[in-house]
């Protein structure tokens, strides 16, 4: 979190609690948030259903809304894997009883779905309210969200098709969520104090140790596998088929297919210096081609000095509005070499 947004947040919290005190420290900056602003911002629905709006919706109402607003991405049955991962599927009647999705442990699932993972129904409510539909978030009314949620619960075979979900019975549905017991908080990813201090996390302790192993160390590097001789040349020269930068190189096997003529030393220099990304030898890429540069400056005696300075300092205007960035990594002598090379025809 950036310092700026932390500052904004502290303002918002301060505004909710004790507005006068906080503004002592920030004289002349901002103003306390109004109750209406806080109400518009404070939309979260918590696992204990704090913040849950009143309302209700039936499965059949939800089906109509889902078909209209949700099905194009999620599929009529919440089964679609095309735009997002599926919402529904992978849960069984037994999971609803135990509160653990068995398929997560056995690995039978081809694809995890929302209902195999989520432990609290309030999270789904909150998410739909906050972020859905993708194109018009926060546009759904509470009754519509209850309806959609009832429809999803029906698709997951948690509630019957004549069910009406409301703020009164949502807590009972929480007791039927397939993965309700699947959430663990005793790990470093969960923020807050450890359980011994009244929190629910483990105090941010990571579950990796990063301890150097100093026993039974190997004394020499032993190569575990090599390319057998008969396979060495099966696919041409492997060196040609791998990038010539980065940690992995191809081993040279056989003759190079592209026995290209060796590039001039200057062209190599231009390539490593990054010039060739924007300039072609005979064509414009982002900046002008070297043939154009040569044509314009060939009769000017001071061109070599001016241009080599420009290579290192950058410039704009001579060739249009796109600026040439400064290239301070290019040594002065190298810049001179390159400019001389360009002005002599860049071969």
């Amino acid at each position: 979190m950036s310092r700026f947004s932390r500052f904004i947040l502290s303002l918002a919290f301060a505004g909710a609690a004790t507005s006068a005190v906080a503004f002592e420290n920030f004289k002349g900056i901002g103003r306390p948030a109004t109750p209406a602003e806080i109400k518009a911002w404070d939309i979260d629905v918590r696992p204990d259903f704090k913040g849950l709006p009143k309302g209700s919706g039936s499965v059949s109402q939800g089906e109509v809304i889902f078909e209209e607003k949700c099905a194009s991405c999620h599929g009529t049955f919440g089964e679609s894997n095309e735009v997002f991962t599926p919402l529904v599927g992978g849960t069984t009647k037994d999971d609803i009883k135990t509160g653990h999705v068995r398929a997560l442990a056995t690995g039978d699932l081809p694809q995890r779905t929302t209902f195999t993972k989520v432990a609290t129904i309030s999270t789904i409510f909150d998410y739909i309210q906050r972020a859905m539909p993708w194109t018009a978030p926060k546009s759904l009314k509470p009754d519509e969200i209850y309806g959609i949620l009832a429809y999803l619960l029906n698709l997951s075979e948690i509630v019957p098709s004549d069910f009406v979900l409301s703020d009164k019975n949502i807590a009972d549905i929480q007791k039927m969520m397939p993965n309700r017991n699947g959430m663990t908080t005793n790990h470093g990813m969960w923020p807050g104090a450890p359980a011994s201090k009244g929190g629910i996390g483990n105090g941010g302790k990571p579950d990796v140790q990063a301890k150097a192993c100093m026993k039974n160390c190997k004394t020499e590097v032993r190569i575990g596998s090599i390319l057998p001789d008969y396979a060495r040349n099966a696919h041409g020269n492997l060196e040609d088929q791998n990038r010539n930068f980065g940690p992995v190189r191809g081993v040279k096997t056989g003759e190079s297919l592209a026995a290209a003529p060796k590039n001039s030393a200057e062209l190599e220099l231009a390539t490593i210096s990054g010039c060739m990304a924007c300039h072609g030898i005979n064509n414009k890429i982002v900046g002008p081609g070297y043939n154009e540069v040569q044509l314009r400056y060939k009769d000017q005696t001071d061109a070599e000095d001016r241009l080599s300075r420009k290579v290192r300092e950058g410039g704009q205007g001579a060739w249009g509005s796109i600026p040439m960035p400064a290239n301070e990594h290019v040594k002065e002598a190298d810049a001179k070499t390159l400019v001389r090379w360009i002005l002599s025809g860049a071969k």
């Binding site: 078909e67 599929g75 009529t76 049955f77 089964e79 679609s80 599927g89 081809p110 698709l155």
Partner: protein
């Protein structure tokens, strides 16, 4: 008797679109379980869809179709309130028919 299918049918401008989510294991017979034994094949062989009593879709399924397959198709005709029924038979001789009303 397998688990029920989910069927939605909607008619618009004389064309009815039917979407079906079938609940079936669709085991290919080529997988092995953790003990190394082959999991026996178990898949839908035939699937038929009817509009009232007229067959509008008749298909042969095989082991290459996914678990819990999704099927969507359109046919000409069909009015609000008509019945659409879908039935399948699998290689173990099990079968199932489910029905929906066109919306």
């Amino acid at each position: 008797m397998g688990n029920p299918m989910k069927i939605r049918a909607a008619s618009k401008d004389g064309i009815t679109e039917v979407k079906v989510l079938i609940s079936h294991e669709m085991e290919t017979g080529q997988r092995k379980d953790s003990a190394g034994a082959i999991v026996p094949a178990w898949f839908i062989k035939e699937l038929t869809a009817k509009h009232n009593d007229k067959v509008v879709l008749s298909s042969e399924f095989g082991s290459s179709v996914s678990k819990n397959p999704y099927l969507a198709f359109k046919f000409k005709g069909g009015a609000k309130g008509d019945k659409v029924s879908v039935s399948w038979t699998d290689n173990k001789g099990d079968s199932r028919t489910d029905e929906a009303t066109i919306a």
